[in-house]
Amino acid sequence: MDKVDFISRRENVSLAAVMARKGVTAADIGGALAFEVPKEPAYRSGSGLGLVGTGPGTWLALSETLDNEWPSALEAALGSLASVSDQSSGYAMYRLSGANARELLQRGATIDLDPLAFTAGSAATTVISHIGVAFWQLDDTPAYDLVVFRSMRESLEHWFESVAASL
């Protein structure tokens, strides 16, 4: 992403998909992790852990270090409450930051990213240029983190570069 100065790749992050078992609530998962687990499409972070709500009873979990053991530790912490699958090599991840970041995402996603509708902590699983993505807002800069299935990385980067050139 050398051509776009407000987007950078994030490499050293561990990712895992968490899917609650039948009848298990966000509060149950939160109890096991000592973490305020969002039951809506939102992003929460703390103590080196991040959770993004991706659907009812499903989350994308993040650890800010690349650690092969982390998904297993998360699985052990959740026991019979949820299934955990390592996605660290399944997604490519990006950090988008600054006013152009919102403008660029808004040109791709058909959801309202105005600060009145989408704020720090908001998250969305949606589609940009026919490519499935999930992104969430970190702060009011605004900065966003975005994940895409790794095999779609080149196509999405091409879209980033094309749209960024027009901003």
């Binding site: 809506e40 499409p41 659907g55 009812p56 499903t58 959801i111 699983t125 949606t126 499935g132």
Partner: protein, 87 residues
């Protein structure tokens, strides 16, 4: 058209896969072939409100049951199909 996903919020209909009428119920085994024919193929085509299934493939990956009026596309209810069929 915007579809009000109960989890994701209002989304473009292109994010969804349309599955049609939500009312047919699979016949209990054992059932006559004619019953299965009706279940698989026969559909009402009402001018008015209809419960129908939409799959949010490009979002939360959940089935949604919408109540939509076929005359003006007004959507009066949306719920996760996993939470039961009726509003």
């Amino acid at each position: 058209m915007r579809i009000p996903c109960p989890y994701c919020g209002d989304r473009d209909s292109q994010e969804f896969v349309y599955r049609g009428d939500a009312s047919p119920v699979r016949p209990a085994d054992p059932a006559e072939e004619t019953e299965f024919f009706d279940y698989v193929y026969l559909r009402e085509n009402p001018a008015g409100p209809i419960d129908e299934l939409w799959y949010h493939a490009q979002g939360c990956r959940n089935w949604i049951t919408l109540t939509r009026d076929t005359r003006d596309h007004a959507i009066s209810a949306a719920r996760l199909t996993s939470e039961g069929k009726s509003a």
